[in-house]
Symmetry: C2
């Protein structure tokens, strides 16, 4: 097996709302080569797709007003969270813990940073579709295969600070199955799956930052992935999860929350 | 702000048990330059330090025998988990969920892959001390500043497959505080901390793999970090955690589990 170095190449891009994914694909295609993975922030994808929402246009429901009071969140934002979340699990001051696309997700992925005052940005409506569309657009432009990761930053349980997480991927083996592979001593592996998508999201997040860096795209070059049309699920059913399985009976899931 | 590309450089190394951190530092120093971050797998650090344990030498206690039966884990491994864990939270078949060094951690970080048959490898006894020692040894050899991350792979709640996590860091600003930094529209940031350590661990895990790749070291070059002697805590108190705070009352922590 040949192991080579990987390059993470940051792309500067100042997005305008509602320009469409084609515009984003043009920027990626200027820098990407066949075999690359383009990691793109979910915020920029959503910006392009028209996911920017004016908070003053949102009319909070009674449920949103209750949540707003309980967790000290503006009522309009609480209403968006109610609409966007697949399930609401609880919260602390300023944050509501939700399930969204089968992921544990603060505020249903809605963010008010790096958007104009008085606005919020939602997650892409269908991240898998966005990832596929973006990849097809880029592949057509560069005439070669690329992978796409739509990424976000995320706090993880008991960890300090955010790291990267993948919302959707397209075009490559995002979950690498190592079943049957021998370890150094020839014993078969037990941790058989590697989540390349989350690792790519975290690697790229080193360059993207959280502030006004204007780096919403990172090209990953040199990673030896398998390109494929296959789709990869990045989440597991709570019942099959070590964490939630271990805490069984202490954490309740509604039917709606099953990914 | 100057943004440059990052390189991830894999280092092949076949570790022998009990050779000491000096031997590991020699390998890193051969490839690292001033300003680099060396990400090193916790398993290799532990190997060097003598963390390999022969399971036949371990006498299981009654508690270990109970856990062994409950979670279908060999009794000797269950005994090591009881000894190594700061707290045992629950489990599923083959895995016990523990707290270790303030982290959520399957089987207290003990692993039986990539170790000889009949052996298990523990986490480094004092990862912070190991990271500091390793860094000092490397810095002396290359006569310049480097950062060190001790990393492991980890399943995350509701995610499929493993990604990287940092156990300890030394020599650089591992948690980047963005408080007061403006976003694109000049508004102050709300997600104010970035866990560079976990992102570096995940980035490096792209090259390290889980099988017989023999890449336990990855050099990260070009990341603009602040080098410092300051120590950084990578974990938060469960009470201040969005996830555990949100699930308050549904998850119980013993006093021993507070990081």
């Amino acid at each position: 097996m040949h192991i080579q170095k990987i390059e993470l190449i940051p792309i500067r891009y100042k997005v305008e709302p509602n320009v469409g994914l084609s515009s984003l694909a043009n920027v990626i295609a200027k820098y990407a080569k066949a075999g690359d993975i383009a990691v793109v922030s979910s915020k920029v994808v959503s910006y392009c797709e028209g996911g920017l929402v004016k908070l003053a246009d949102i009319k909070p429901s009674n449920r949103a007003l209750r949540l707003s009071k309980q967790y000290k969140i503006p009522p309009e934002l609480a209403e968006l969270i109610v609409r966007e979340a697949d399930d609401i699990l609880g919260g602390i001051e300023r944050f509501i813990l939700t399930l969204k696309f089968g992921m544990l997700c603060p505020n249903a992925g809605i963010d008010t940073s790096n958007v104009p005052e008085g606005y919020a940005i939602l997650y892409p409506e269908n991240p898998q579709k966005s990832a596929d569309t973006l990849r097809n657009l880029v592949e057509r432009r560069i005439d070669g295969r690329v992978g796409v990761v739509i990424s976000d930053s995320r706090i993880l349980p008991l960890r300090r600070g955010v790291c990267g997480i993948a919302i959707a991927t397209s075009g490559f083996e995002a979950i690498k199955d190592e079943r049957g592979k021998p370890d150094l001593f020839g014993k078969p592996l037990r941790n058989t799956m590697r989540n390349l998508a989350d690792m790519l999201a975290s690697a790229s997040q080193l360059l993207m930052g959280e502030a006004n860096e204007m780096i919403p795209i990172v090209i990953v070059r040199g990673l030896n992935v398998r390109f494929t049309e296959e789709k990869f699920r990045l989440t597991v059913d709570p019942k099959k999860c070590l964490y939630w399985g271990s805490l069984n009976g202490k954490v309740c899931w509604s039917d709606k929350s099953k990914p």
